[in-house]
Every structure is written in structure tokens, then in C-alpha cells.
């Protein structure tokens, strides 16, 4: 009974301390939250990006009998609904107004479509006055590049159409079943019709790329939650949360055990020894408080992690194993580290430096980063944090309990051994 009384008293003191609660629960959530907000939350598979702002000055005036209007095609490409989520196009009456908007950073780039663009394309003549000009904000890179690529892509389509037309004219090939065969001296309007058809297909293809990927000729597939795993951003956040949880679990283990040094300095430990309470019971009460604190912290972080960041922790049994491994390892290391120190001042240095170094070696701070050198993985096996992390990696990936048996057992063995060493040292010192 006295063991529980001592443990309960320690728990009350721990959870009454704003600093302790801050380090146990708030700090790991805040650090994970920083990552969360830095990438704009997890509303979709991809992080939110600010919309690209483009200004359009369309002065193109095609001939009355022109079969297409290239200037208008460019405008439609920028104002198409398929790009409306990430691109905002604004019309300007003239070049001066658009340049002013760029200078004021209202838009990232301005596209000037010259008056004779369509006519020049139809006639096959090129001169500087019929060149599309893009003026950009020099501080930006992505937005202007996207605008440039879109225009280049469209013009490539026209170039491709021209090549196709030449091939058709030279070989007399048919475009589609049922179309009349063009002869070698096909009139210009027939050529224009072909270009127009090609362009229609090309615009449709571009739209499908953005809007209806299933219809596109080229598909880029990114694994999604429904296709065997969490979205990339979700994965990063989950692993970040795991890393923070483990780091602060070990911190909590040591911090909780530090209460014995604190009591020694406050004189309450000596006073406890003057009561008819066996010293072994006093130590057991303090050890129990450490275990309960680390368990409480782990559960709290898992609940908050789920609610705040949508972390899916894995199968219940796997999660339970990972939690047990974490608790034993964190409490064990905490008890051992504090048993090697004499004062809270010393212990503070151990907590600050030692646990951070262990955490780094264990890979807790780089767990969300892809493609880390293999050396880091090798080093992590020399730390209890590394083995706990391995357990969580399996659990959070939806692994079965059997899959995390090895890291779980190693975590418990390491933690148990360290706890035994610490308990013996404390017993020698106090009991």
C-alpha cells in the first residue's frame, strides 16, 4: 500500500509541475505540430501550395479567315477550370499595366501575346514583333517557370502539328477513318483544319493530365492511402510523432527518476527513511511512479497524436507491444542514468546531453527523412531508442505482432538490464 502511496505522491508532483507536463506532452506535440503546420496540414496527399498568379495581355488579332486563334488558345489554357486550383490568371489591357502588376508583386509573371501571333504562325514567318514575351518577378522561380513551360508545351503542340502535316502531305496518309484523302496540293484551309484537330486533341490531352488522369496518355501514379499505405505527408508526420514520442518518453523516464535526487536535496528522502517504511518499498514506489508516468505520457501522446494529426498507430496488439517496449526501455535507461548521478544538477546535464545524443544515434530526429545513409541505421542498434523506434516503425506500418517481436524483445531486454543495474546502484546507495 505504501508503495502506491509513494508512487501516487510522485505522480501528483510530476503532473502538477508545468515544466514536467510541458516536456512530457506539450513539447512533443508542439514539435510535431511545427512540422504539420510547416507543410500546411494534411488536407490532401500533397502539401498545399500558394496559387501561381499570372497576368495575360492578349493583343493577338488573327486574320478574319484564320482557322484558329492562337492567342485565344493560350488565354484559354491559363484560364481553364482544370488549373483553377493552383493558377490564377488575370487579364490586363496592355503591357504597361501588366508590368506594373509584376513590379507590385501582384502577379508572379506576365505573358504578352503580340498582335500578329496567329498570322505569323499561319504564314510561317517569324520576327521579334511576333514573339511571346514573359516578364517575371525576379524573386520568384516556380510560378514563372510553370507559365513558361505551359506556353512552351502548347507551342510544341503546334510544332508537332506542323510536322504531322508535312508527313501527311508527303505521304498522303489519312488522319482518321472516313476523312477525305488530302492530295499533295491540298488547299490551305484543309491544312489548317488538320492543325486545328491536332490542337484540339492536344488541349484535351493537357486537360486530362490535370483534371482526368485516367484519360491521359501519360499517368504519374503516387501511392495513396487506398493503395497500400498512408499518404507521404501523413507518413512523415506519423514518423515524426513517433520520434518525438520516443525521445520524450526517455526524457520522462529519467526526469521522473530524478525525483529521488530532488527528494534527497529537499530532505524528504531522509525523512522517509525515518518512518517505519522499508527502504526497498520506498525505492519500489519511486520506480513504480516512473513506469506509470511513462505509460501515462505514451497513452496521452498517442491519443493527442491521433486527434491532432490523424496518426494511425497500427494494430492494437502491435501497438501494445511497442508501448510496453518503450516503457521498459525508457524507465530502465532513466533509472540507470539517474543512479549514476549524485545531484539534480548532474542529472540535468545527463538528461540534456546524454538523452539527446542517444536520441540522435537512435535515429529519433531523422526518422521522417527519406534516404538516410545506412550508417545511421547501424548506429541505432546500439541504443535502446533505436530498437523502440524499430518496433514503432513496424507497428505504424500496420505490421503484425510477430513482425515486431525482435525489436520488442530487444527493447525489453535492454530496458530490463539497465533497470536492474540502476536498481542495484540505488539499493547500494540508499538501502
Amino acid at each position: 500500500m505504501k508503495v502506491l502511496d509513494i508512487a501516487l505522491k510522485d505522480l501528483v508532483r510530476s503532473f502538477r509541475s508545468l515544466f514536467a507536463v510541458g516536456m512530457m506532452v506539450v513539447a512533443p506535440l508542439l514539435l510535431t505540430g511545427l512540422i504539420y503546420f510547416a507543410f500546411g496540414g494534411m488536407g490532401g496527399e500533397q502539401p498545399d501550395m500558394p496559387a501561381i498568379r499570372v497576368g495575360l495581355v492578349n493583343l493577338d488579332a488573327p486574320p478574319a479567315d484564320a482557322p484558329f486563334n492562337l492567342g485565344q488558345n493560350i488565354v484559354e489554357m491559363f484560364t481553364d477550370e482544370s488549373v483553377a486550383d493552383w493558377l490564377v490568371a488575370t487579364h490586363y489591357p496592355d503591357e504597361v499595366a501588366a508590368r506594373t502588376a509584376v513590379d507590385r508583386q501582384e502577379i508572379g509573371a506576365a505573358v504578352f501575346i503580340p498582335e500578329g501571333l496567329t498570322a505569323a504562325i499561319l504564314s510561317g514567318e517569324r520576327d521579334p514583333d511576333t514573339t511571346i514575351v514573359i516578364v517575371q518577378d525576379p524573386t520568384l522561380t516556380i510560378g514563372p517557370q510553370v507559365a513558361r513551360d505551359m506556353i512552351t508545351s502548347l507551342l510544341d503542340g503546334f510544332t508537332g502539328g506542323s510536322i504531322a502535316l508535312q508527313v501527311i502531305q508527303e505521304r498522303g496518309a489519312r488522319l482518321e477513318p472516313g476523312d477525305p484523302l488530302p492530295d499533295r496540293q491540298a488547299p490551305a484551309w484543309q491544312v489548317a483544319t488538320l492543325i486545328d484537330k491536332y490542337q484540339t486533341w492536344y488541349v484535351d490531352f493537357q486537360r486530362a493530365l490535370f483534371h482526368e488522369p485516367d484519360r491521359a496518355a501519360l499517368r504519374m501514379v503516387v501511392p495513396s492511402a487506398g493503395e497500400g499505405g498512408a499518404a507521404p505527408m501523413q507518413q512523415i508526420l506519423s514518423m515524426t510523432m513517433v520520434g518525438q514520442m520516443i525521445f520524450f518518453a526517455f526524457y520522462t523516464g529519467a526526469y521522473s527518476m530524478m525525483s529521488i535526487l530532488q527528494e534527497q536535496e529537499e530532505g524528504t528522502l531522509a525523512r522517509l527513511f525515518t518512518t517505519p517504511t522499508e527502504r526497498t518499498l520506498i525505492l519500489a514506489g519511486k520506480f513504480l511512479a516512473v513506469f506509470l508516468t511513462v505509460i501515462g505520457q505514451g497513452v496521452a501522446l498517442m491519443v493527442f497524436g491521433r486527434l491532432a494529426f490523424g496518426v494511425v498507430w497500427g494494430r492494437p496488439v502491435s501497438v501494445a507491444l511497442a508501448v510496453v517496449g518503450q516503457v521498459v526501455a525508457a524507465a530502465g535507461l532513466g533509472v540507470m542514468l539517474i543512479s549514476l548521478t549524485r545531484t539534480t544538477r548532474q542529472a540535468g546535464a545527463v538528461l540534456g546531453g546524454g538523452l539527446t545524443a542517444f536520441g540522435m544515434l537512435g535515429g529519433l530526429f531523422t526518422v521522417g527523412i527519406q534516404g538516410m545513409p545506412a550508417l545511421f541505421d547501424t548506429l541505432s542498434v546500439f541504443t535502446p531508442q533505436g530498437w523502440v523506434l524499430k518496433s514503432w516503425k513496424v507497428a505504424i506500418a500496420g505490421g503484425a505482432p510477430a513482425e515486431l517481436l525482435l525489436p520488442f524483445v530487444v527493447s525489453v531486454l535492454i530496458g530490463g538490464a539497465m533497470f536492474a543495474i540502476g536498481a542495484v546502484l540505488f539499493r547500494r546507495r540508499f538501502a
Binding site: 500500500m1 505504501k2 502511496d5 505522491k9 501528483v12 508532483r13 502538477r16 509541475s17 529537499e266 530532505g267 524528504t268 531522509a270 525523512r271 522517509l272 527513511f273 525515518t274 518512518t275 517505519p276 517504511t277 522499508e278
Partner: protein, 315 residues
């Protein structure tokens, strides 16, 4: 039939490396009395107390608390004891009530009995209205009161108080001394350590004077004062180094001991201060020394200590 001694030590020894902090102390505190352990800092009082309260394991000898050996029945011995440590030993982030409840549990109290006892003790120390306040919000005197109360929850038959008045204001000191007397009136045996002669004189039925780990005198106040006869103590301050007058003063008739202190202070034990004092002035004048202050004290424990050790109690 003889009553069992409340505390009895037989040849208690405690060593720290080469230092023998307690050297075979044998001492008895009779049931229902206040026994003061008087001695300068470093005399071994706290070490002796630490052994009696189970904090330190003796290297030799034994002690009993109401017949329970501290070596073979430490649990039973501790259960009879209430220990008030020298420094406040409470949990600063818990309230006064939470502290008392916890310490009560450590002494085996539970349930209604615990609640009632905590209420009683809070009333006694006058902190019932502040019981929910955290201890770190209390004044030094209030903390001392809670510190004492925590040792009394289980109504111990023997209370050990280790210099409980060190560093506190006169009002709180008065409160503690009155409280000790009240506890004794209720039948508790009190072992009270102090280096304040006045406290030992006021409180004690018996006084044990301790120095260098040994009991050098034991008895009632009157018995101890009788050790130095009717000698008075004269503290004199000189404007020169004490060594200049020492040979001359030691030759003055009626002077039994001359002890130099710091900063020109010299303590002299004399048979008759009225007769001897003028001769001390004359002897000082002969060696060109000027006496700048004089303080005469009738025979007391301070004089006893000086008589026994050649040193002042507060040196």
C-alpha cells in the same frame, strides 16, 4: 517496577572513514522527560540523532527506543519515534494537508483515523485555514510548524528534534519551544538537540553536553553548573591581540581559566568578578593594552562548556 527508558544508547559508534564522529556514546532518556543534547556544531549530535532515527547504521554499540533495538527491530523502533529534522523536509509543491496525509500514511495511518488526526494536528499548529495552500507559499515559521506536525501525526511516545529553531525568527522560535513543553506535558519524551544554551536551560529535565563525538557531561542544569562551582564568566574585548595580556591575566589571583577568542575577545572564568575585574584592568594597563568592552555572566551552561573544553560553546 522500573519504567522502560525511552531512549537508551550503549556504546554507540559511528565512523566516516578516519573520522570517528560518535565515540562510544552511552546515554539514557527517561520516559516523559526532555533530554537536551547540547554541543557546538560538529560535536556529533546530528550523527547520534541520525543513528537513533534509523538514517545511519552504527559501526558499533546499540540503542533502544522503548526497548526496541535500532539494529534488530528498526521498524518497531521507528514506529515509536517522531523525528523532526533540522531543515524543513516537506514537499513544497503539495499543500499542507497533502503533506500531512502523506506522512501520516508513511506512519501507517489510514482512513478516518488519518483524517481525524490530520484535522487535529492542523488545529494545533494553527494552519487549519491554510491547509489547502501549497507549502512553498508559507512563511519560514509556518513551514517549521508543518514540519513538526508531520512528526506528531502518529502520536509517537518519543520525539527527536534536531535543532528545530536554527535560523528562524524569535516569534516562531518561541512557538516551537512552547510546543515542545506542551508535548512533554502530554507525556511525550523529547530528545532535543541544540547549540543554544538558553534553550537547553529552559526546556530540559536533563542535559547531555557533547563534544568531539563524546558525552562530556550529563545531569540537570543545576548539577552541571555545580561542576564549575560559583565561577562567573567575564568576556573582555581588547584593542590589542589577546596574547599580549594572557600571561599577566593567568597570574591574577582568582582567575581559574583564560581563553582567547577571535578579534581581541578573551573569556575569563573567575571566582568573584567584583574582586578580580579591577586586577584584570591593572594587568592590562601594565602591558599597554586597553579593555574596550566587558560582559559579566553568572555561572551557566556556557561556563560549564568552557570549563570542560576550554572553548566557548559557539566557537
Amino acid at each position: 517496577m522500573d519504567t522502560l527508558p525511552a531512549i537508551e544508547t550503549q556504546g554507540l559508534v559511528k565512523r566516516f572513514g578516519d573520522l570517528q564522529a560518535v565515540q562510544g556514546v552511552s546515554l539514557t532518556a527517561h520516559a516523559g522527560e526532555i533530554l537536551s543534547l547540547l554541543g557546538p556544531n560538529g560535536a556529533g549530535k546530528s550523527t547520534l540523532i541520525s543513528m537513533l532515527s534509523g538514517l545511519l547504521e552504527p559501526n558499533g554499540g546499540d540503542a533502544t527506543i522503548l526497548g526496541h533495538s535500532i539494529r534488530t527491530e528498526p521498524g518497531a523502533a521507528k514506529a515509536c519515534l517522531g523525528v523532526v529534522p533540522q531543515e524543513v523536509a516537506l514537499y513544497p509543491d503539495l499543500s499542507a494537508r497533502e503533506n500531512l496525509v502523506f506522512w501520516g500514511k508513511m506512519y501507517g495511518l489510514r482512513g478516518v483515523a488519518l483524517k481525524q488526526r490530520v484535522d487535529e494536528v492542523l488545529d494545533v499548529i494553527g494552519l487549519a485555514d491554510r491547509q489547502k495552500d501549497r507549502v512553498d507559499k508559507f512563511s519560514g515559521g509556518m513551514k517549521r510548524r508543518v514540519n513538526i506536525a508531520a512528526a506528531l501525526l502518529h502520536k509517537p511516545q518519543v520525539v527527536i528534534m534536531d535543532e528545530p529553531t536554527v535560523g528562524i525568527d524569535p516569534q516562531s522560535r518561541r512557538y516551537i519551544l512552547d510546543h515542545v513543553l506542551e508535548l512533554n506535558r502530554q507525556g511525550m519524551t523529547v530528545l532535543y538537540t541544540t547549540h543554544y544554551m538558553e534553550e537547553a536551560q529552559e526546556l530540559s529535565d536533563h542535559i547531555a553536553i557533547m563534544d568531539h563525538g563524546q558525552i562530556i557531561a550529563y545531569g540537570t542544569h543545576e548539577e552541571l553548573v555545580r561542576l564549575v562551582g560559583e565561577q562567573a564568566r567575564i568576556d573582555l574585548t581588547l584593542n590589542v591581540e589577546a596574547e599580549r595580556v594572557l600571561p599577566a591575566w593567568q597570574e591574577v589571583s582568582g582567575v581559574s581559566r583564560v581563553s582567547p577568542g577571535a578579534e581581541g575577545l578573551v573569556t575569563v572564568l573567575v571566582d568573584d568578578s567584583n574582586r578580580v575585574l579591577p586586577r584584570l584592568f591593572e594587568a592590562a594597563t601594565e602591558v599597554d593594552a586597553r579593555i574596550t568592552s566587558v560582559d559579566i555572566q553568572e555561572p551557566n551552561l556556557e561556563a560549564v562548556f568552557l570549563h570542560l573544553t576550554g572553548r566557548a560553546l559557539r566557537d
